[in-house]
């Protein structure tokens, strides 16, 4: 990279601007780059970036986000006008994929790499090297002890080394000293933690490149079945490296949906019974059945099939004035906890004159409706089509309230239309007019319209919201997260410490080549990290040396 000898991250930058020797303007650039790199990899910068990251995440929780809830963003933009557009220009509705958020975490990770690589090198060296020699003045160490030698010097040192090795210290015996160090796992854990963070980021990148997902509302019954292709989803998202053809071929059908509720209407459990067909595999298509419930997705061809919502789809039979009957089964969207649901049933091919076979675009028929799975028995809505509300989410006293419209549905304009609402512009322009409103229809009940046509509410079929998601990065992310946690635990619980013993021959130091009986043995201990119990450990080791007769 720019500077091989980058300083350790926590070294204080003294702000010097050293221009390397040699001619040319290149050296200034080099100096600038070196200084920039040093700044970036300093701990202060990393801390500042860390805080920027935290602060930058805040708008993502305050403002609606496109990736979380698109409708809310649209609603916000509609109500806030100019402010909303300015916020949008600053990517405030896509905070977590915005350039500025990405810039912060990428800089943070570059800073991290710049800090980790030299540390990894240092640590690798420390792992293969012997513990460093004793400092000249052991009495300057935070903990210190002195004792008379118990026996022969070289023998003493060898026995001390054994004693320390038994305590899992890494030991080096030199001339007249024993150096011991322990707690390398702390730094190993620390490095593991930080590299796991990098791996985690890579995993997230894999997720966003190679993952895909799609959602749709699926009505029960064979006619509601769908296959895993993009046109069949209500909405979908493909990773940058995924094409429409990469979706594994399988088909799903909702056979049955069971919902259980408590007495107050709070849901107790949801269970969807699905059947599926897998086209993949050498053995030809395979079919199967599975239960999907909340917290228990179905795993199919590397993807997960999740149950995320449910509702009722009223089955409505409209018999037009020529006597031709058509059936609509459209999901109604719940608007409250008790599953008061709203939706539309459209009959664009109604009133085709059997004599001419001509379809009059201004004679189409549609109904907007409110479905109450349980209407209160004394609800005035029983008599009018004004909005009532369901009192229980299961179908105990179901009623369907319809408003009939006739005119042009606006479906021939070529624009995509919602299947849950009528085209408001057609209503506003008067091309689609309200004809009549029904009272609450019970299942099986028929309502006659003024023009002689009839509507029959046949009952409902359940529908579920399914999301299918494939995320190849999640295993990687999981592995990284486990490493991260292990590294974190090692890093926070580990304690690096050093202990030295020196056989002091008294006065002459080690200059005289005195290999006989030393005058005294000095012990020094240095906790290299915050470690409250070090003194206790040190005392215990000194005591053990005394017990073994190495120290008198």
């Amino acid at each position: 990279m720019v500077d091989i000898e980058a300083p350790p991250a926590d070294r204080v930058d003294d702000g010097t601007f050293v221009v390397p020797p040699g001619g040319g303007p290149g050296r200034w650039v080099l100096a600038l780059a070196r200084r920039g790199w040093r700044q970036l990899t300093s701990m202060r910068t990393a801390l500042v970036l860390l805080f920027l990251l935290a602060v930058a995440a805040i708008p993502g929780s305050v403002l609606p986000q496109r990736r979380v809830n698109l409708e809310k963003v649209t609603g916000y933009l509609n109500t806030h006008g100019e402010t909303g557009r300015w916020l949008d220009r600053c990517w405030l509705f896509d905070v977590f994929s915005s350039p500025w958020f990405s810039a912060i975490y990428l800089l943070l990770f570059v800073s991290l790499v710049g800090c980790l690589v030299p540390r990894l090198r240092t640590h690798a060296r420390a792992l293969v090297r012997q513990p460093p020699d004793a400092p000249s003045r052991l009495d300057r160490m935070p903990v210190h002890a002195v004792g008379a030698p118990g026996g022969d010097a070289s023998d003493d040192l060898a026995r001390l080394a054994t004693l320390l090795r038994a305590r899992r210290f890494r030991v080096a015996v030199r001339h007249d000293t024993v150096s011991a160090e322990k707690g390398y796992l702390k730094e190993s854990g620390n490095l593991l933690f930080h590299f796991a963070l990098l791996a985690l980021l890579l995993g997230v990148a894999v997720s966003s490149w190679y993952g895909w997902h799609g959602s749709r509302n699926l009505v029960a019954g064979p006619d509601g079945a769908f296959c895993n292709t993009l046109p069949q989803y209500d909405d979908y998202g493909l990773g940058a490296r995924v094409g429409a053809g990469d979706l594994p071929p399988f088909c799903l059908q909702l056979d049955r949906f069971d919902a259980a509720y408590h007495a107050d209407g709070q849901p107790a459990s949801f269970r969807a019974s699905m059947s599926y067909t897998l086209a993949a595999g050498s053995g030809g298509p395979t079919a199967g059945r599975a239960q999907v419930s909340v917290n228990h997705p179905l795993r199919l061809a590397g993807a997960g099939v999740y149950l995320l919502g449910h509702g009722y789809a009223p089955v409505i039979r409209y018999t037009d004035r020529y006597g031709r009957a058509q059936i609509s089964v459209t999901p109604f969207l719940p608007s409250d906890e008790q599953l008061t649901s709203q939706g539309v049933a459209t009959f664009p091919d109604a009133n085709v004159d059997p004599a001419t076979g001509r379809r009059d675009p201004n004679d189409q028929v549609a109904f907007s409706g409110v479905y109450l799975p349980t209407m209160s028995s004394d609800d005035p809505a029983a008599l009018s089509a004004t909005a009532g509300a369901s009192v229980y989410p299961a179908e105990r006293n179901p009623r369907l309230l319809l408003v009939a419209y006739r005119g042009n549905l606006g479906m021939d304009t070529g624009y995509a239309q919602s299947v849950y609402t009528l085209d408001q512009s057609q209503l506003d322009s008067g091309k689609l007019r309200k004809v009549a409103a029904s009272k609450g229809l019970a299942p099986g009940e028929t309502w006659a319209l003024p023009d002689g046509s009839t509507v029959q509410f046949l009952g409902t079929r359940p529908w579920v919201t399914l999301t299918v998601r494939h995320d190849p990065g999640e295993r990687f992310v999981f592995g990284a997260a486990v490493c991260l946690l292990v590294g974190l635990l090692l890093s926070l619980s580990g304690k690096r410490r050093r202990i030295w013993f020196r056989a002091d021959s008294g006065g002459g130091g080690d200059s005289g080549g005195v290999r006989g009986r030393p005058a005294r043995i000095e012990v020094g201990g240095l906790p290299r990290t915050d470690y409250a119990g070090f003194t206790a450990e040190f005392d215990e080791i000194v005591q053990a040396a005394r017990d073994e007769g190495i120290l008198a």
Binding site: R44, L47, I58, P142, V146, S293, V294, L492, D530
Partner: protein, 348 residues
């Protein structure tokens, strides 16, 4: 059973209140003795394990400033080598009546803790499930973990007892808010919560939050004590006179946070695994997830700042305080104001 739980909740708060008054009494009546004792330097004549290790706090290798305080411990006196001249409050050394009141306050805290435990257990029995399925119960459990952590701490290091006033104060405030504003009647879980991950994820989150609560109190007291030592004599800093020494408090703050941080990490990870089972993806930047991430980043920042010699200890401690603020925003603002996938508060 649900009614019993509610009554026990009142008993819990009252017991903590009595304990708080006890801690306060110890502080005010014992003030002179405490100051006097604080001023006494621990001499080599009274070396104990506790003292030695506290003394080492100033002489740790991380802290070159502290190491120079004690340039040369007498070579003949290992105990003295560690007593670095930092003022240390010696538990049980005098104090007389005030210390007795302090011990009684701890005893009443234990009573409150038992009532607290009973509140949670009866709540669980009433609802036929683990008693942390909505915000009321979550705060109840967080405070319980906080109280537990406090008692473990005070049993292991009696010298931290002066913090009791502020620990009980924080717990009473949270429990009071909980009972008055967040109360939800005991009921069954919604299907999305009906998973064994509830036991893992929410337990980890409440344990981490409860311990971080103690960390927050320690951090605030550290700052007050440092301010007091720096010569500040306006209101919050005057409390510092009765606190344990700044070095010990600062170390305590760090150790509590270092203990809680991996648990918080684990809680977030479990949440991610659960999210993958329940909401299709491990991370979807739901407001609760976002603020958990923010809190995690801030606490990570604290641990890094504390490990960096060039960052002042007061700055690092302030970061810990900010961390707790983000935890509280995550708990109250996000649950009650912002709607998201984690909207399980059940508060009407």
């Amino acid at each position: 059973m649900s009614g019993l739980s509610d009554q026990l909740m009142v008993v819990t708060i009252l017991a903590y209140l009595v304990a708080m008054i006890g801690y306060a009494a110890e502080l005010s009546f014992g003030a002179r003795g405490m100051v006097a004792r604080t001023a006494t330097r621990v001499s080599a004549a009274a070396p104990g394990r506790e003292l030695v290790s506290v003394g080492l706090a100033a002489g740790g290798a991380d802290d070159p400033g502290g190491a120079t305080v004690n340039p040369a411990g007498a070579a003949s006196d290992p105990g003295g080598a560690a007593s670095s001249g930092v003022p240390v409050v010696v538990e049980g050394d005098g104090g007389g009546r005030a210390a007795l009141i302090g011990r009684w306050a701890v005893a009443v805290t234990v009573v409150g803790w038992c009532a607290h435990l009973a509140t949670i257990v009866t709540r669980g029995l009433a609802a036929h499930r683990v008693p942390w399925g909505n915000m009321y119960e979550f705060v109840l459990v967080v405070c319980f973990v906080g109280a537990t952590a406090w008692m473990v701490l005070v049993a292991r290091r009696p010298m931290v007892r002066p913090l009791g006033l502020f620990v009980t104060l924080a717990i009473i405030v949270l429990l009071g808010l909980d009972g008055m504003r967040l109360y939800t009647s005991a009921g069954p879980l919604m299907p999305a919560l009906n998973s064994y991950w509830l036991k893992i994820h929410v337990t980890a989150a409440s344990v981490a939050s409860g311990i971080l609560l103690i960390g927050f109190v320690a951090a605030v007291m550290t700052l007050i004590r440092i301010g007091y030592d720096g010569g500040r004599r306006s209101f919050p800093y005057t409390l510092g006179a009765r606190m344990p020494d700044a070095t010990g408090l600062e170390r305590l703050t760090f150790r509590v946070h270092a203990f809680a941080f991996p648990i918080w990490t684990f809680a977030i990870m479990c949440g991610a695994i659960w999210a993958r089972e329940a909401w299709t993806q491990y991370w979807s930047w739901d407001p609760k997830e976002t603020w958990s991430f923010i809190a995690w980043v801030v606490y990570a920042g604290y641990l890094h700042a504390r490990a960096t010699p060039s960052v002042k200890r007061t700055v690092a401690t302030w970061i810990a305080v900010v961390g707790w603020v983000t935890m509280m925003i995550n708990l109250f603002a996000i649950n009650l104001v912002v709607s998201g996938l984690h909207s399980y508060a059940g508060v009407k």
